[in-house]
């Protein structure tokens, strides 16, 4: 009897192993956004065609970063494909934590928007393929600006933006002139604040990577930001980020919003118009650049199959697969990655923001310059940046809420950033 049981067990194990060996399974860690959720349905056809089973693990952005970092640092293997952003891709590529990506001619890598491609590469090698990309732009209520007799132009001056916000600001009617990010976080308030600082000619670090947060440009930029949002923003702005402002905007409570271009596809109010990001004399770095991309951890045992899937999921064919999917359509295709997407008349017909979005992405400048000696627009592509960004973000929220003066907040930020960079061995 015992022998019979053991034989049965052995057979079950053998069958199980046999089954496991016959079909490749890929485990994919994804950030929870609409495009990635849609992909789970669109990719059913990939499984049907190739037999490759896809296991999706959806994670909140912060937890995703933490899990992927600890997985990669412990040799990988937990995930075959990971969602990473523009901040991580060049750093991890340089460290050898993710595999370089080389695709066939039909993939048409030159169709990829150059700024996005450069931001996901290191020394000219692509390490992560973009799934969707974004920049930032002004989304304003033209009906309100027209009624107030003011206008918002492409690459406007900040003083004109402030004047327009003041003209349409009517808190008694529940309309606030400018809704901007104030919630602390390196990807929250600091994404927007950094573009303002850049537009005033400031940067996070000098050429020796010493923080320059106590510079005059930072003082001017933060004083302007606190003045604009404090006087013409909704109450409690220090708690607002993308989602909170989107909710306010769709309630008709925001006259103007400067944020991610992807927001345009979520707007449901009438009378919205778009303009390129304002600046205070320096347009370089006044609009951010970000992409969520797919990469293969160096430890993945299924690297080749993973690359094949990424090649499909970021291809022109995938864009068409979403457009032709019965549950989605052209309004749901991931944007900000390929020039060809913007050329489809069907896409142009449903995406009134398409031209403004593409112009914003194309004008974004992540490369290092004399003024900004590091890669990245709203972040610096160095491993220490999240820590620096979080510390400064708290101080900026304190300045916005009035808990601290701008001067004190900047002094505390400079001190914290200097300590972090010094400890990391930059100087």
């Amino acid at each position: 009897m015992k022998t019979l049981r053991l034989s049965g067990l052995a057979m079950a194990v053998a069958v199980g192993l046999g089954g496991a060996a016959s079909a490749t399974e890929l485990t994919i860690a994804i950030v929870n956004n609409g495009h990635m959720i849609n992909m789970q349905k669109v990719a059913e056809v990939y499984t049907k065609d190739t037999g490759v089973k896809l296991n999706w693990v959806s994670l909140e952005e912060g937890v995703l970063r933490e899990q992927v970092t600890s997985d990669t640092a412990t040799g990988g293997g937990q995930y075959d494909i990971i969602n990473i952003g523009m901040q991580e891709a060049p750093i991890w590529g340089a460290a050898g934590w993710i595999e370089p990506l080389n695709f066939g001619a039909s993939y048409d890598v030159n169709d990829m928007l150059p700024a996005i491609r450069n931001g996901l590469s290191h020394n000219g090698t692509l390490y992560a393929a973009p799934f969707y990309g974004e920049s930032s732009m002004v989304m304003y209520r033209k009906d309100l600006t027209d009624a107030a007799g003011v206008s918002v132009r492409d690459n406007d001056t900040w003083s004109n933006i402030k004047a327009a916000a003041a003209a349409i600001h009517n808190p008694d009617a529940g309309i606030y002139g400018a809704c901007l990010r104030g919630k602390p976080g390196w990807g929250d308030n600091m994404a927007f604040i950094t573009t303002v600082v850049n537009s005033f000619g400031g940067a996070w670090f000098d050429k020796d990577m010493r923080p320059t947060i106590d510079s005059q440009q930072w003082h001017d930029a933060i004083n302007f930001y606190v003045d604009l949002l404090g006087n013409y923003g909704p109450p409690g702005s220090e708690g607002n980020s993308f989602n909170e402002i989107l909710a306010l905007y769709n309630e008709g409570k925001c006259g103007m919003w400067i944020d991610a271009t992807i927001a345009a596809s979520f707007l449901e109010v009438d009378g919205v118009a778009y303009a390129q990001s304002p600046n205070a004399g320096n347009p370089v770095g006044a609009n951010w650049l970000w992409a969520w991309a797919m990469a293969v951890p160096a430890g993945s045992p299924n690297a080749e199959e993973s690359k094949k899937f990424i090649e499909w999921a970021t291809s022109k064919d995938y864009i068409k697969a979403v457009a032709n999917h019965p549950e989605f359509g052209w309004g749901s295709v991931p944007t900000g990655t390929r020039s060809s997407t913007y050329a489809y008349p069907e896409f142009q017909a449903v995406a009134g923001f398409a031209a403004a979005e593409m112009a914003a992405i194309e004008s974004a400048a992540p490369e290092a310059t004399d003024l900004k000696p590091y890669v990245g627009v709203q972040f610096a592509a160095i491993p220490e940046f999240p820590e620096v960004g979080i510390a400064v973000a708290q101080e900026m929220a304190a300045a916005l809420s009035g808990a601290k003066s701008v001067a004190d907040a900047l002094a505390a930020s400079q001190k914290a950033a200097t300590a972090i960079m010094s400890e990391a061995g930059y100087f």
Partner: protein, 278 residues
């Protein structure tokens, strides 16, 4: 009328009203979460309080069709039940030994066990990941989740059981011994029946703690052993308003535990007060 009587009448009205106000205050977030789960995503994010709306089950259908709710729920059930059983199987003898045969180090051991709860979980995240993934190969297995949940809850379970066992008069045990009752008879016929209420409330609390644990269950699993905590975590979105869906997932995750708590209120209160309420 004496001030005492006035104060007593005042208390008759004041304390129940205060208790109701506090209860409603604490319950409101749960109520709002359940209400939001029946709203569309567009209704869910409207800044004003929206009590009247057209209810929809869309979020619940979406949760079961697209998010594989049942897989996560089954994993939560398996890991919580087995972790509770394992914790009790270790905790009962340990608490018994310390309650009825204390040594001069018993107090130190109890304090030491509790002190392990003071270690921030994040401090051992990397070693735990490395150990379970690279050395033991246990990452993303039910066994690992059960083990971790058991170890996390063991100190509190031993403390609770120790408190209950201490309530049992030693004379009863001694009388049993004089009558020639064996160790197992002592446990089965005397200790456990007398501590049954405490044991049940400890088991219930342990199960709830296991079900709700999020830090390790999110970080030590991928797909095979992922629990409902991971499902909730994955529904948070930085760019996109999915509060209706998130509320539905959260409601479905806490639902079973709320129902269980509702039926076992008495034991729960007794457990939470370490036996002070009988």
């Amino acid at each position: 009328m004496s001030p005492f009587v006035r104060s007593s009448r005042f208390g008759t009205f004041f304390w129940p009203i205060l208790a109701w106000v506090l209860a409603l205050l604490f319950f409101f977030p749960i109520f709002w979460m359940v209400l939001t789960s029946f709203k569309t995503d567009a209704d869910a994010v409207k800044p004003e309080f929206l009590f009247f709306f057209t209810p929809t089950l869309e979020n619940y259908f979406n949760m079961t069709e697209n998010y594989d709710y049942w897989r996560f729920a089954i994993n939560s059930g398996i890991t919580s039940v087995f972790a509770t059983l394992f914790t009790l199987s270790v905790g009962v003898p340990a608490a018994y030994a310390m309650a009825f045969n204390p040594s001069r180090h018993t107090k130190d051991i109890l304090v030491w066990m509790l002190s392990t709860k003071m270690l921030p979980a994040a401090a051992v995240l990397y070693p735990m990941t490395f150990l379970t993934k690279n050395m033991l190969g246990l990452f993303d297995t039910h066994f690992l989740v059960i083990l971790v949940l058991s170890l996390i809850n063991l100190p509190i379970v031993i403390w609770m059981l120790f408190t209950y066992f201490k309530e049992i008069p030693k004379e009863i045990i001694e009388a049993g011994k004089m009558d020639g009752v064996s160790f197992w008879g002592e446990m089965g016929d005397i200790v456990l029946p007398l501590a049954w209420g405490g044991l049940a409330s400890t088991a219930l609390l342990c199960f709830i703690f296991c079900w709700n644990e999020a830090y390790w269950t999110v970080r030590l699993t991928t797909t095979d052993a992922a629990t409902l905590s991971k499902l909730i975590e994955g529904n948070r979105a930085p760019e996109g308003l999915f509060f209706g869906r998130l509320s539905a997932v959260s409601t479905a995750a806490v639902g079973p535990i709320v129902v269980l708590g509702w039926f076992c209120q008495k034991q729960l209160v007794r457990g939470l007060t370490f036996g002070a309420v009988k």
